[in-house]
């Protein structure tokens, strides 16, 4: 039986983090194929990097991962606000919106 084994190791080191994908293929003839794929994530540089390539910090908030803080009822349903009493402003012509 002819046995062919392939070991593929792909590792990329990016910055201080690293990620690696190891694919191990073991084939025994055409009729029997056994394939094992190991994906080893030692770390994920994209996830660990604190800045983008131009040095801009990544926000601590991550869409799909971060959970917004639960606010107490008095914050989510504040009492109605009493507007401050308005004075009579100086007279002036309205600025037409077309001038925007």
């Amino acid at each position: 039986m002819r046995r062919l084994a392939h070991l593929t190791l792909l590792a990329a080191l990016l910055g201080s983090g690293a990620w690696a994908v190891i694919a191990l293929r073991s084939e025994a003839g055409a009729a029997t194929t056994h394939r094992v794929t190991l994906i080893g994530l030692a770390s994920d540089s994209a996830a660990l990097a604190t800045t983008d390539p131009n040095g801009v910090r990544y926000c601590a908030y991550v869409p799909g991962e971060s959970i917004p803080a639960q606010m107490p009822p008095e914050v989510t349903n504040p009492p109605p606000r009493t507007p401050r009493a308005a004075g009579s402003p100086p007279a002036a012509k309205a600025v037409p919106s077309a001038t925007q």
Partner: protein
């Protein structure tokens, strides 16, 4: 006051009677501190919640900051005063003791050496002699309180903005802590330049929630990154002045979709910058109504080196009446809780909503 106060009806108050009352107090004899309190109380009676008095010492301190930037001994945090003599961190000075101790925006400062952070008269106990150490009780939103020991040292430079990119997107976030620091527009320009270096932004969150206002010399160039042209008028009893914005495009800043976060601590030029971006159609406002205190103040210098800043202009947004935002604020189109001390950057419900809105565009 009689000729230039923005409200000819003195907001229904009897200014002549107010003036007579306080004049009698002064003539009975007041020391410097007493005079400062009386002057502020007198202006407070007008109820505009904006006009204010500065003692000679306050004038000197402000002028030094204006000319030299921040220069004091402390730990290097820009604080939002909170009820209960506490404070919440708005931003942290680079290289400061606060940054070395790991303090971050939203951290709540509870106690200094077991006592209050601030006094009612404005005394800030976080400040003190260089080299002096103290215990600082802090609480990070969502965590238990803990105690740090910090040593004060000289702090100088500008009030820092905060900015970041939302991971996995091309959405930027910029916190505008104040418009009173003359470097803020420069800092925002630099932030935009760095953020667009990696490509155009797909959205930008401008956080005005703790923007207590400042100067038109900062607000106008900042607005110029995102909009341009006539955006309103400053209306006084003596006439009107156009509020025109000069365009400065940084990458795609003139067209990038914007969400402005705002709330009750968004005041004065904070009100105006938020309102202008909303009114011009450039931004969605998320949060809560702004303070609604958008008069423009004019300085009166007195012979003893004190000052009064008196509301002499109201802001008239394009297409709206003069003073349209006074008392009611700029209303958000999306309501989100804005309490600064109840979340951190990772758990900020308003930032989450803003990103959601921008990803939908």
């Amino acid at each position: 006051m009689n000729g230039h106060y923005a409200y000819p009806d003195f907001r229904g108050r009897d200014w002549a009677a107010i003036r007579t009352t306080y004049r009698a107090m002064v003539e009975d004899g007041l020391d410097g501190a007493g005079l400062a309190v009386a002057m502020q109380n007198m202006l407070d009676e007008l109820g505009d919640e904006h006009s204010y008095y500065q003692s000679p010492q306050a004038v000197q301190a402000e002028e030094e900051i204006r000319q030299k930037g921040q220069n004091y001994t402390g730990i290097g945090v820009f604080l939002l005063p909170l009820p209960g003599a506490r404070g919440a961190v708005i931003s942290v000075f680079p290289g400061s003791p606060a940054m070395e101790a790991g303090l971050r925006p939203h951290d709540l400062l509870l106690e200094v050496d077991g006592g209050p952070i601030m006094e009612a008269d404005g005394t800030n106990h976080v400040r003190g002699p260089a080299g002096s150490s103290f215990t600082l009780r802090i609480q990070r939103p969502g965590e238990e309180p803990r105690t740090l020991t910090l040593t004060r040292r000289a702090i100088s430079g500008s009030t820092p903005i905060e900015y970041c990119l939302v991971r996995g997107t091309r959405i930027g976030y910029i916190l505008v802590p104040t418009l009173a620091d003359e470097t803020i527009d420069d800092q925002v320009r630099t932030a935009l330049q760095k953020m667009v270096a990696g490509g155009p932004l797909q959205g930008l969150v401008i956080d005005n929630r703790v923007d207590g206002g400042g100067s038109s010399s900062v607000a106008k160039p900042l607005l110029g990154f995102f909009t341009n042209g006539l955006q309103g008028r400053q209306v006084s009893r003596d006439g009107t002045t156009d509020f025109t914005i000069a365009r400065e495009d940084i990458g795609n800043s003139q067209s990038v979709p914007l969400v402005v976060l705002a709330g009750p601590d968004t005041v004065s030029f904070g009100d105006i910058t938020t309102g202008v971006l909303a009114r011009s159609g450039r931004a969605i406002v998320a949060g809560a109504p702004t303070r609604g205190n958008a008069e423009l103040l004019t300085r009166s210098d007195f012979s003893d080196a004190s000052r009064a800043w008196i509301a002499t202009f109201v802001f008239q947004p394009v297409g709206l009446a003069p003073g349209a935002w006074e008392g009611v604020g700029v209303l958000p189109s999306v309501s989100v809780p804005t309490r600064w001390d109840l979340f951190n950057e990772a758990t900020d419900p308003a930032l989450a909503k803003a990103v959601e809105l921008l990803l939908q565009r």
